[in-house]
């Protein structure tokens, strides 16, 4: 399969792929730059009202201002902390519940309709209730984040667990494996690719929960910043909040994707 000496045609094939990859990257960066330039120009020449749509330079200026007077890192830190705690707790709790459902087919079937309803319900509708019940501090926001992400984690992981190859289970049983052993040696490791896929989704959902929570009640955080900006009608603040959010979410997604690369060896 692997050929050590690379022929000329193969070299050409490889460089064609490289060229294409580079061209895609250039186009991606190009779109970004073009958008920023157009935005800036349009705002500068008053084709659009910078008061309403802000502009890249105004955002950068505001960013520097917020970053130097020490407020920004606090907002970012608060949101980040709430998201990471909510994400981690949601994932762990979701995994535990999914394992429980895999363990007991009876209970899986009993609670199936509830999961279905919860899944189709827009979880953000629960946010006000949760915040009243749990409290208006960080904990309310974290629980909101958990509530938004956990159902997907439960459903994805449970489905992954029950689709474990029955022949592999049979193999372990011929070795005399117990149920915990089947879980540990087979079901969990076989579900790692699905777990990573689920993490990619639930990290985004955790952010949804945190921002919603911060919209409703908070004294700090990126969501707070956005709501505050819109209330005092300073769209620069709103836009800055959104841009920071986009950058952080992209970074987090990248981290998970790089974890995925570690496992890609046998995912095929």
């Amino acid at each position: 399969m692997s050929n050590k000496s690379i022929s000329k045609s193969h070299q050409e094939y490889l460089s064609a792929i490289k060229r294409r990859k580079r061209s895609i990257l250039i186009a991606q960066i190009g779109i970004l730059i073009l958008t920023l330039v157009l935005w800036e120009v349009a705002a500068n020449f008053r084709w659009i009202d910078p008061f309403i749509v802000s502009s890249p330079s105004r955002i950068v200026k505001l960013f520097i201002e917020y970053a130097t007077n020490g407020n920004l890192h606090k907002h970012v830190f608060v949101s980040l902390m709430e998201t990471i705690v909510g994400f981690a707790a949601g994932t762990i709790l979701g995994l535990i519940i999914a394992i429980g459902l895999w363990w007991s087919e009876y209970w899986a079937r009993v609670i199936d309709p509830y999961i279905v309803v919860l899944n189709s319900l827009p979880k953000t509708a629960l946010a006000p209730i949760i915040i009243i019940w749990v409290g208006a501090g960080y904990s309310g926001i974290i629980v909101t984040a958990i509530s938004v992400s956990i159902v997907v984690t439960i459903m994805n992981m449970y489905n992954s667990f029950i689709s474990t190859d029955p022949n592999k289970i049979k193999l372990l049983k011929t070795f005399g494996a117990s149920k915990p052993q089947i879980l540990k040696k087979l079901v969990l490791p076989a579900s790692i690719p699905n777990l990573i896929g689920t993490l990619k989704i639930s990290i985004g959902l955790s952010w949804v929960g945190v921002i919603i929570g911060e919209f409703l009640v908070s004294k700090a955080g990126i969501g707070y910043l956005i709501v505050y900006g819109s209330q005092v009608f300073k769209l620069d603040i709103v836009m800055m909040g959104v841009v920071i959010l986009a950058i952080i979410c992209a970074l987090m997604y990248k981290i998970i994707a790089s974890i995925e690369k570690h496992f890609i060896k046998w995912i095929e």
Binding site: K168, L172, F175, K265, W266
Partner: protein, 258 residues
């Protein structure tokens, strides 16, 4: 035969229940298998061959009758029975060595000595260069050989093989069945091998059991006696003058209409 009896199947029957129907898969199966025998099992598809192996392995309980292995009643999977599947069932996330060690790990018998033994076996079966490779890096034949070592390292008294070569291409299948057949004889193993390939059954087995259509019962048992020069191996068996004759008789017994 005055050798020790390894398997004793008595009046075995099983009926499966599903919501739609009940299926009688096996009926009145009686069979004794002796030490160092390889038994080939052939029969029309759906006649209960895999079911038979699963019962012997203690994975499902029969409705009637009993199975004993080395005199012990099979009511759960026994440590001295090994099972090989149609596909190798290697765990993609474990390297070859750790795949081989899986059974020992489950049975709590994993130690340094066992690891050394696993490495030695991999070496002696031509997989020395792949000890730390992952399954996707191996060919189908090599993977099936790993599956065999994973079974053999548990030193089972009885091996159950369910169409072990049917996922392989024809050439690989001839080569690996020759190899595995030779290994089983050399290690003095007792084995039951289900196959849909009549030639494979004749070439590897001491006896070939023909099962009837469902509910599967034993229709006929053929004692395979081949005149081979020197030692009998699965590949050489195929050249024996009696080979064709057995093939035709078993084919007739299978009574397959299309």
């Amino acid at each position: 035969m005055d050798k020790a009896k390894v398997v004793e199947i008595k009046d075995l029957g099983i009926t499966y229940h599903t919501i739609e129907e009940e299926t009688e898969a096996l009926r009145d199966v009686n069979l004794d298998i002796y030490h160092n025998e390889i038994i080939g099992v052939v029969g029309p598809s759906g006649c209960g061959k895999s079911t038979l192996l699963s019962i012997i392995a203690g994975l499902i309980k029969p409705t009637k009758g009993s199975v004993r292995v080395n005199g012990r009643l099979v009511d759960k999977p026994l440590n001295n029975v090994g099972y090989m599947f149609q596909s190798d069932q290697l765990f993609e996330w474990r390297n070859i060595l750790n795949n081989v060690l899986l059974g020992l790990e489950i049975q709590g018998k994993l130690d340094d000595e066992a690891k050394e033994r696993a490495k030695e076996m991999l070496h002696s079966y031509g997989l020395g260069d792949f000890i730390y490779s992952y399954p996707y890096q191996l060919s189908g034949g090599m993977r099936q050989r790993v599956a065999l070592i994973r079974t053999l390292i548990l030193e089972p008294d009885l091996l159950l093989l369910d169409e072990p070569f049917s996922a392989l291409d024809y050439q690989t299948r001839l080569a690996i069945s020759d190899e595995i057949g030779t290994i089983l004889k050399k290690e003095e193993k007792t084995a039951i091998m289900v196959t849909h390939d009549i030639s494979e059954a004749i070439s590897m087995s001491d006896r070939v059991v023909v099962l009837s259509q469902r509910p599967g019962t034993i229709k006929k048992i053929f004692d395979i006696k081949l005149s081979c020069n020197k030692e009998r191996t699965p590949l050489k068996s195929r050249e024996a003058p009696e080979f064709r004759q057995y093939f035709n008789e078993i084919w007739r017994e299978l009574d397959i209409h299309v």
